[in-house]
């Protein structure tokens, strides 16, 4: 039995508004994950009472910047530091910025992939 899931693509400008609305509705942040495909795809996943909601943000490689949602969900800090350290995406406004020291990697931005 596959779990029902709501998956929506969002624009960078409306991300914070949508995330804040989910927070207001009592959703918890389940994960933030990034994929380096043609462009970057950042998935913000939320859950409330076993209802799964995902917001997908497509980030172009030539403007690899996203706004931080750590002001809404503090736990987003770790996911955002991960995305910064592994994929090289700049995350603006992180409450806790480890400045590239969260992941100890010899190669910088190891998951960035081909441009």
């Amino acid at each position: 039995m596959a779990e029902g899931q709501k998956n929506t693509t969002v624009d960078k400008n409306e991300l914070l508004e949508k995330v804040s609305a989910l927070r207001g509705d009592g959703f918890r942040l389940a994960q933030i994950g990034c994929s380096a495909l043609g462009n970057f795809e950042v998935n913000y996943s939320f859950d409330k009472d076993y209802n799964f909601v995902n917001l997908k943000l497509v980030v172009p490689r030539d403007a690899a910047e996203i706004p931080s949602i750590s002001g809404v969900y503090w736990s987003a800090c770790l996911y955002e530091n991960e995305i910064h350290d592994l994929f090289g995406i700049k995350v603006n406004g992180m409450l806790m910025d480890y400045k590239g020291n969260f992941y100890r990697t010899t190669i910088k931005k190891p998951f960035e992939g081909k441009k």
Binding site: M1, A2, E3, Q5, N7, R28, L29, A30, Q31, G33, C34, S35, L37, N43, S45, Y50, F52, N54, Y73, W74, S75, C77, L78, D85, Y98, N101, F102, Y103, R104, T105
Partner: protein, 359 residues
């Protein structure tokens, strides 16, 4: 103003079986800030998905973790089955439940041993692992492996368990139950154990939920959330309630895991009594195209597998969010204010699985 000192904790530390690093800012003996860093055992297992056939990758997924290996394999299968809309046969679903719960039991018993070892109770450590060994024997008898089960596959399972053997498993678990009660009773009542666990590392239910904590770390703070309630595999047919405690301290996290061991025995008993006859796999045809987030309850909490495919035998992307990663924000928040000597035990109480977290 008190003098602030930064003490590096890990990646090598006597209580940590795996490498995790914290820079601990302390004032006298009190921790005021904890800054984590990881990346010491990264193995690139997510990347391998681009080179392994999606059916063959189950072998790799099982090796993400050496403790909750079966549930990693299962969640990967759930992700692919979610994309391909495959429904495994009912018998396979029940077998998946039985192996998942055996996995949970051996993981929790292992954690109890590690924790006893961390506060220097060697006898308790060895007794917890003595019982874990018996659970591993059952796993070996039914799958051929002790840690890596190799029994899950996309569309079902690879191996069946005969009726006599299923009944023998229940008999064995009932036989071990008093022994487990005796050992776990020491955790529950011994004054030296309680001295280290009661009242330390308190996480309120609100904080735990806000910080995205999962599994026993969340449930010990009174939040009833368990991904098995999603009803994947055959959990929809099993009568059970998530185990919760209210105190939110290290002792409560320990008690949740202890009670979950007995809950697992009950779940296995129910699964054995309800398992239907029939095939154990659905034939998989075609290749996956689409994306799906699969979720399951590991011993440490909710695991998420995100799989994306564009219609070839190789997935484009596999992203694994392990429960340990979800519990790190809670750990970062609960360490400040604790005594430096309590840090190792506090870290252990989230049951960190680092190689799992780093993939």
């Amino acid at each position: 103003m008190k003098k602030r000192t930064v003490i590096p904790f890990g990646p090598q530390h006597p209580v940590l079986p795996e490498p995790l690093h914290f820079d601990l800012a302390v004032e006298n003996e009190t921790v005021v800030e904890a800054i984590p860093s990881i990346g010491f055992v990264h193995r690139g297992l997510e990347k391998l998905i681009e080179k392994k056939n999606f059916l063959d990758y189950v072998y790799v997924a099982e090796r993400v973790c050496g403790i909750c290996s079966f549930i990693h394999g299962l969640t990967y299968c759930l992700a692919v089955e979610g994309i391909m809309k495959i429904a495994p046969p009912p018998r396979a679903n029940y077998l998946r439940v039985i192996w998942s719960e055996l996995s949970r039991m051996h993981s929790h018993l292992m954690w109890l041993g590690f924790t006893a070892d961390a506060f220097g109770f060697e006898n308790l450590f060895m007794n917890a692992w003595r019982i874990r060994e018996k659970i591993l024997d059952i796993i070996e008898e039914t799958t051929g492996g002790r840690v890596i089960f190799g029994s899950c596959k996309v569309g079902g399972v690879r191996k069946d368990i005969k009726k006599d053997n299923l009944e023998a498993i229940v008999k064995k678990l009932k036989k071990y139950s008093p022994d487990i009660k005796e050992i776990t009773g020491v955790f529950a009542r011994d004054s030296s154990v309680k001295h280290r666990l009661v009242g330390t590392g308190i996480l309120t239910g609100e904080d735990a939920y806000d910080l995205g904590a999962v599994g026993p770390t969340l449930r010990a703070s009174g939040v009833s959330q368990d991904m098995r309630k999603l009803g994947y595999a055959a959990y929809k047919d099993i009568d059970f309630e998530p185990i919760t405690e209210k105190a939110g301290d290290s002792y409560a996290r320990c008690m949740v895991r202890i009670r979950e061991i007995f809950s697992s025995i009950d779940i296995i008993e129910q699964a054995v009594s309800k398992i239907p006859e029939g095939p154990i796999e659905t034939k998989v045809t075609g290749v996956p195209s689409g994306e799906y987030f699969a979720r399951a309850e590991q011993p440490r909490g909710e695991v998420i597998y995100y799989a994306k495919s564009d219609g070839t035998e190789f997935l484009k992307r596999l992203r694994i969010r392990t429960p340990t990663f979800a519990n790190i924000p809670a750990l970062v928040k609960l360490l400040p204010g604790c005594e430096l000597a309590d840090v190792p035990v506090l870290i252990l109480t989230i049951d960190p699985c680092i190689s799992c977290m780093e993939r």
